[in-house]
């Protein structure tokens, strides 16, 4: 890897599943053979530009440290991590809600009335901000995945989690009782790279935006 190779950090998982087809047949299309392998650094259709496939929670660190010049990550992750990044555009896709969810039949008022409310979440910062706005207190149960199980098994009274279609909630007998915020994919940039080399980074950002808008 040389300093002349530009790296873009792409998310694995839900956002990545939506992103990869959007990039197909664009200058930033990912090499299909590499995608099928277990390789995490993948050439794109543009020489000198490669993609890193990263977990959403790790991605902002790679960009903030300047390892990757650009990245695509959900605004929910950005808000939780509060890294020093530039956020150049709301890309629109990957839209979902950050919601308070409980077992069917449990209302927001029921939860408010609990003397000791327990909320399981992997979004403690957003949850704490919402609790403060609502003048509520709660015990936060930190989880990193499968939060839907927590209310069913008595680990928590409710969860704060991302909801896209509601299918997973329904499958677990949960319902949304309040919407705390909304999230979508954002184009982020390393502050240093963007400000010190705009001649290199802005055209790449424009290329990425152009590729995604062409598919919109």
């Amino acid at each position: 890897m040389t300093h002349s190779t530009l790296l873009i950090a792409f998310p694995k998982g839900r956002l990545g599943d939506e992103l990869v087809p959007l990039l197909a047949n664009t200058p930033l299309a990912l090499d299909a053979a590499a995608l099928k392998s277990r390789v995490l650094r993948i050439p794109t259709a543009t020489p000198g530009v490669a993609a890193l496939l990263l977990k959403g929670a790790d991605l902002p660190r790679y960009v903030a440290a300047g390892v990757a010049s650009l990245g695509i990550v959900g605004s929910d992750t950005l808000d939780e991590m509060d890294m020093d990044l530039l956020e150049l555009a709301d890309l629109g896709f990957g839209a979902c809600r950050l919601s308070l969810c409980a077992k069917a039949g449990v209302t927001l008022e029921d939860l408010r009335a609990k003397p000791h409310l327990r909320l399981a979440t992997k979004f403690p910062k957003a949850t704490e901000a919402w609790l403060a706005r609502e003048d509520l207190t709660a015990e936060l149960v930190p989880l990193s995945s499968s939060a839907e199980l927590a209310p069913l098994l008595g680990l928590a009274d409710a969860i704060v989690d991302l909801v896209q279609t509601g299918g997973t909630l329904k499958a677990h007998g949960l319902v949304e009782t309040a919407i705390l915020g909304r999230s979508s994919a954002r184009l982020v940039a390393a502050r240093g790279a963007y400000l010190s080399e705009p001649g290199r980074i802005r055209p790449l950002a424009d290329m990425l935006l152009g590729a995604l808008r062409a598919k919109a």
Partner: protein, 322 residues
Amino acid sequence: MPVRTPHFPDLLFGSAARLRRWEGALMGLLADHGYRELHPSLVLRETPPEGALRFFDGDELVALRWDFTVALAGLLARSFPTPPDRVAYAGAVFRRPVQPWEAVERFEVGCERIQLEGEPAAEADVELARMLMAIPGLLGLKSAILHLGNAALVRRPLEAEGLFGELADAVVAALSRRAPHRVREVLDGHPSASRLAAHAEALLSELDGPGTLGALESSPYAGLLEEETSHMDRALQALLPILPPNLELRVDLADVAGLGFYTGPTLRLWAPGAQQELAAGGRYDRLFPGLGRPWQAAGFCVRLSRLLDLAATRPDLFEEPR
């Protein structure tokens, strides 16, 4: 319990020699321009702020110097009935890092240009920019970029709209991220939303040469900011003809870093590919009045620790030392 090793860098031979050489060269440059050194104590007398490195000396809570400008301001306000007009400083400050990779002990060289309130400030601002322009060559950087900004471009519209406190902070945070969509989100429902969103679009529309100032014409606050625009234009006219080779001059209308401190023009020095600015400064006219002195001031600070890191990680950005 997890142990986190704080970053107190030990400098081995090469870095130690480079630090000494750079510090000497920079202080020489400042002395040539009439800046005389003051050395505020390493131990703070004032109430230690958050972020300072604090400890007990017997029963007394003390803190290490965390910012030269603040330490110098206290010293100057205490010791001088009228201000020395040009002051330089060199040494270390100690600050708790915001990011885990940041150093706690940071070496700096800097200067301050101090005047009585009401004296013409434009020449002082250009004097500082001219000195900063000489620094990349002095340090052996092959190329560099100087960003000119102005804190008033954001501060004045916010004040004109009566936006203060958390909402103003949220707008500034969105601008710092260079995210006009976040500005719109933050201001959703506020009477000034459309005007400030349009202003944010104008500030963020360009990051390029002198033509960037033209972007302000589309701002709803173009009239309010005529004086600042004119000041920046005059500074560019003064600086562009004397631009050293391998230094780019750019206008950054959306520079909001340190907005709570800076009141006017700002300066930031970058090297291509560097992840952090290497020097920063600007005008901060509210500092001395807050200490009971009717003085105005501007200055800049060269972040030698970042330069040392850059020399270690990107030696290709530097000329071979002669």
